[in-house]
Symmetry: none
Subunit: 247 residues, 2 copies
């Protein structure tokens, strides 16, 4: 995995207008970013309006990875940011774009794969998407007037990446050789726990089950787990089930 | 001259499309800037397309100072920046938006009046305008692809102003109210898991038991857990034991 120009992937989740997808591609490429992933675009793919708008950044659309779900788009990622205008009551670190791209640089230098989620134009990301993220990016806009559009939000984040990385390289990190768990590994872990705990009757009463599941998924997503950690946590659960089965 | 909220004025020089003027107003107000000046807009003034596009930032257009020439727009200014994509062979300091807003803050704090010039969409500022500036702002875009539009250029500059001048960044604001688990709570959690997993036969074979316990304790200690997380993790384990006991 020797990436010639390591950089975060920008994931557009359920984008609506083609023009905005094209605008996002231009915003990225202005600052040298060219890894785009697109989750379930409303008007299908490829999108001619996106291509027309992207003009000189059309290559990003050609090479964009089209995914059916947010989970699929994040499969290989080890650290995920979600951009959102509002706080959602999820316990998760909230950082500025500046701090986020600083973290992203550190994670990438340590061998991680970083993604940034951008929500659909009107509604923004859903809680289910946000629960997959390790941290939230919040642009410090005027509290009386927050009207950043998709391309602008992409622009500011990409700008911070370039501002950050055109400066001094980050210090080499202690955990550089660590194999971090990928998103798909984290997802399987969360699913394993959710299934067994469901069987065990943990999510009770039923009216609270959804909230409890969300909290548990959110807990996993916040944890900086290595692949070895994930294996151990699977092992713990398997052993508890074996214990039960032995009676 | 006691300005209640001192800030730089943004001067749009000969802007063409009304939509871009409205977009610039929104970009400014997103970051709390509301002093706009407009020099010789192509389509006259007021501009209904600008008003439509500005929506919630329409007040900036109502209050904008309309000027016939760049010289008139800068009359009361003591320090002027010109934004430009290309170097023009003019002997003048060239700074990043970040450095520019740092300088702007210093100048304003010292009682100065600062303006930033933005050129027309296609051609950008003319040399005659740039010659009036004390320094040039150059956004460090991808040299292979520079396609910032007027509103985006305004956005990045306004963003840097706010980043510079907002005292405390909203970093980790959502985690700020979080009750982190204390060391003793973490210790009890580690102990709870260690005891139950010992009963369950997890630490096997015996020669590896100590190493496994160490890894597990190390895992807990690296996790940024809240008190609620710790309660949930206790609950999970208790439920697994209950499940076993029910047979």
């Amino acid at each position: 995995m020797s990436d010639p120009s390591p950089q975060p992937a920008f994931v557009l989740v359920r984008p609506q207008m083609g023009e905005n997808i094209g605008g996002a591609a231009r915003a990225m490429w202005n600052f040298g970013l060219d890894r785009m992933r697109v989750v379930a675009p409303r008007d299908g793919w490829p999108n001619s309006k996106a291509v027309a708008m992207a003009s000189g950044a059309g290559r990003l659309l050609d090479e964009a990875r089209l995914c059916a779900t947010t989970a699929e788009a994040l499969e290989d990622c080890t650290y995920v940011f979600a951009t959102t205008a509002r706080a959602r009551g999820l316990t998760k670190p909230v950082v500025t774009p500046e701090r986020a791209m600083e973290l992203a640089q550190d994670k990438i230098a340590a061998g991680g794969r970083v993604a940034v989620l951008f929500g659909p134009e009107r509604a923004g990301l859903e809680n289910d998407d946000i629960a997959r993220a390790n941290a939230i990016i919040n642009v410090p806009v005027n509290p009386e007037f927050a009207s950043l559009n998709l391309a602008q939000c992409v622009l500011l984040t990409a700008y911070e990446w370039r501002r950050r990385t055109s400066m001094a390289p980050p210090e080499t990190m202690e955990m550089a050789k660590t194999e971090w768990a990928s998103h798909v590994e984290m997802d399987k872990l969360a699913q394993h726990y959710e299934e067994r705990l469901d069987e065990a009757g943990f999510f009770f009463p039923p009216t609270k089950a959804e909230g409890m599941k969300m909290n548990l998924r959110n807990l996993w997503s916040r944890m900086p787990l290595t692949r070895a950690d994930v294996q151990m946590l699977h092992g713990i659960l398997r052993q508890m089930v074996r214990w039960k089965d032995r009676g």
